[in-house]
């Protein structure tokens, strides 16, 4: 596919339509003489984003193309959420948005505006681990540990959604989380134990 013309056209479009049109209403202080096109474009290519992550409020300015996953990992240093495929095919990037488990790699960060995000870093209360974290340690629900944060976030979702009544259920509803080390049976044991523990997650 020849993307050259399209992309050139696109940048022109941005400059002409959004950026330049918006210039007329923006504070002139923002646009200093000598700023090149790219800086102006970059300014207007970013959009404001307010969200809460692990109980902390963030006021950010991000490019719309930045995924929630890359925002967490690259910009906010929250590297506990992992990138395993970047296409919603492995579950390593699972986080909770407003309490629901989702793939953060297919979610644009800007779409989480006004929402509450919970990552693996937000589970433990100080020294006290979340019951699912404890169960994963007890049952050795991992080997390399890379898919683990996603598995744990997904496992909590699995129980909350009411899909952990049987081991067979757990296997089906956890199938969005790939573990290449093959810790699956241990993960299922961990989830069943937490489920039986009956704690509100």
């Amino acid at each position: 596919m020849d993307t050259t013309n399209k992309n050139e056209g696109r940048r022109d479009f941005l400059k002409k339509s959004t950026a330049l049109a918006a210039l007329t209403i923006a504070s002139p202080a923002l646009i200093k003489a000598g700023d090149n096109d790219e800086k102006i474009a970059a300014y207007f290519e970013k959009v404001p984003l307010e969200l809460e992550i692990n109980g902390q409020a963030y006021k950010l300015s991000v490019e719309p193309r930045v995924t929630l996953l890359d925002l967490l990992r690259e910009q906010l240093g929250l590297t506990g959420t992992k990138k395993g495929c970047d296409h919603g095919q492995c579950g390593c990037c699972t986080v909770h948005v407003d309490g629901k488990r989702i793939n953060s790699c297919l979610s644009l960060a800007v779409m989480s505006h006004g929402k509450k995000v919970t990552t693996i870093e937000g589970l433990a209360k100080g020294e006290e681990l979340h019951p699912m974290q404890e169960a994963f340690m007890k049952h050795d629900g991992f080997q390399c540990g890379y898919c683990t944060p996603g598995q744990i976030m997904s496992a909590i979702g699995c129980i909350r959604e009411g899909h952990a009544n049987t081991a067979e259920d757990v296997r089906e509803y956890m199938s969005g989380n790939i573990c290449r080390c093959g810790a699956y049976p241990n993960i299922v044991d961990a989830i069943m134990e937490v489920k039986k523990g009956g704690k509100q997650l």
């Binding site: 596919m1 993307t3 399209k6 992309n7 696109r10 479009f13 941005l14 959004t18 290519e45 959009v47 490019e63 719309p64 193309r65 995924t67 970047d86 296409h87 919603g88 579950g91 699972t94 629901k100 488990r101 989702i102 793939n103 297919l106 979610s107 644009l108 800007v110 779409m111 505006h113 997904s154 979702g157 699995c158 959604e161 899909h163 296997r171 089906e172 509803y173 956890m174 199938s175 969005g176 989380n177």
Partner: protein, 324 residues
């Protein structure tokens, strides 16, 4: 991924207006398919119109049937009481698709709009008439194990990847659409297209139009089943799938509605089979004959010949499961 403009809208009217102004704009809801396609460079919208704030998240029913708002997440639809009670086929199909996380994100409208998983469509270095008209079809002479056996053209042999849509097709759903000229409804069977000479068009939605809901009419089906055969036991696209809805009284089939997935560019209704089944009793031979009829006009390619036999098996098994 190239950067793009991003706007949020609060009403269907505003959404339609925003899109009508810019042909290179696209709606985004769950984003599970669109963001993926953008990352692969398959599509590069200049502007994304975020419709998540639209009030189209209700599921309601009346005597005429069930309405599901376009923004209802797949997981919510799959576990909705009304859906489970009246249209368990839809719940089964929804749960057979993707993963729990993706079902939490993906919306009903987005599922209808999802594009094919043909590898030649996804790889921008390959020829694909659907991605770039007139560039050729990579799959025709290439690796086509997952491809169509019904309704394909010499331009495209891709299949529609959705499970949900197969059930909606069998349930005679209607797609409710909002456009600049107001609201319109398209029967599900007419919504998705066969590739013909214009495989770039997946469906009959016009530029600027927005799916606002799906309506499923009340029916008399009292037996149903969704069978999906895939390469692993979960989180994989269908090799073939079958949605069966039957009205059975006193061991005899009064009416039938059957659709298949993984076999065509759109959910594939087995109308001949449906006709055949009317008045038949529930026997293995009847199901076997139904399967033969269903697969009668299949056209296979180098790697997907198995789909004929598998399709027959799946029809028999789905009918058996539905009636047992």
């Amino acid at each position: 991924m190239i950067n793009f403009e991003y706007t949020r809208v609060n009403s269907a009217k505003a959404a339609v207006a925003a899109k009508s102004k810019n042909v290179a704009a696209q709606f985004i809801a769950g984003g599970t398919n669109l963001v993926d396609l953008m990352k692969k460079g398959v599509t590069a919208p200049q502007r994304l119109i975020d419709i998540n704030a639209l009030p189209l998240k209700d599921i309601s029913s009346d005597a005429k049937g069930l309405s599901i708002g376009t923004l209802v997440p797949n997981s919510v639809a799959a576990e909705n009481k009304l859906v489970l009670e009246k249209y368990p086929l839809l719940a089964m199909a929804l749960n057979a698709g993707a993963s729990a996380q993706l079902r939490n994100m993906a919306t009903v409208g987005g599922n209808i709009m999802q594009r094919t998983r043909c590898p030649y469509f996804y790889d921008i270095t390959m020829p694909c008439n659907k991605r770039i008209p007139q560039s050729g079809c990579g799959a025709m002479e290439g690796y086509n194990r997952m491809h169509a056996i019904f309704g394909a053209s010499d331009k495209c042999i891709a299949v529609h990847p959705s499970d949900m849509c197969v059930a909606l097709a069998a349930l005679n759903a209607t797609v409710v659409i909002s456009g600049t000229k107001g609201e319109k409804k398209i029967p599900f069977a007419n919504f998705h297209r066969l590739p013909g000479d214009t495989p770039e068009l997946d469906n009959n939605l016009q530029t600027g139009e927005l799916i606002t809901a799906v309506h499923i009419p009340a029916n008399r089906f009292n037996r149903s089943y969704y069978l999906k055969v895939r390469d692993r036991l979960s989180y994989a696209f269908a090799l073939v799938s079958v949605a069966v809805a039957l009205e059975v009284t006193d061991g005899s089939i009064r009416s039938a509605s059957i659709a298949m997935g993984g076999v065509a560019h759109k959910p594939w209704r087995l109308t001949e089979v449906e006709k055949y089944l009317i008045g038949k009793s529930i026997t293995a031979n009847v199901f076997k004959e139904a399967a033969e009829i269903g697969m009668k006009n299949a056209k296979t390619y180098q790697h997907n010949q198995f789909k004929v036999k598998m399709g027959k098996s799946a029809i028999v098994e789905a009918l058996t499961k539905a009636t047992s």
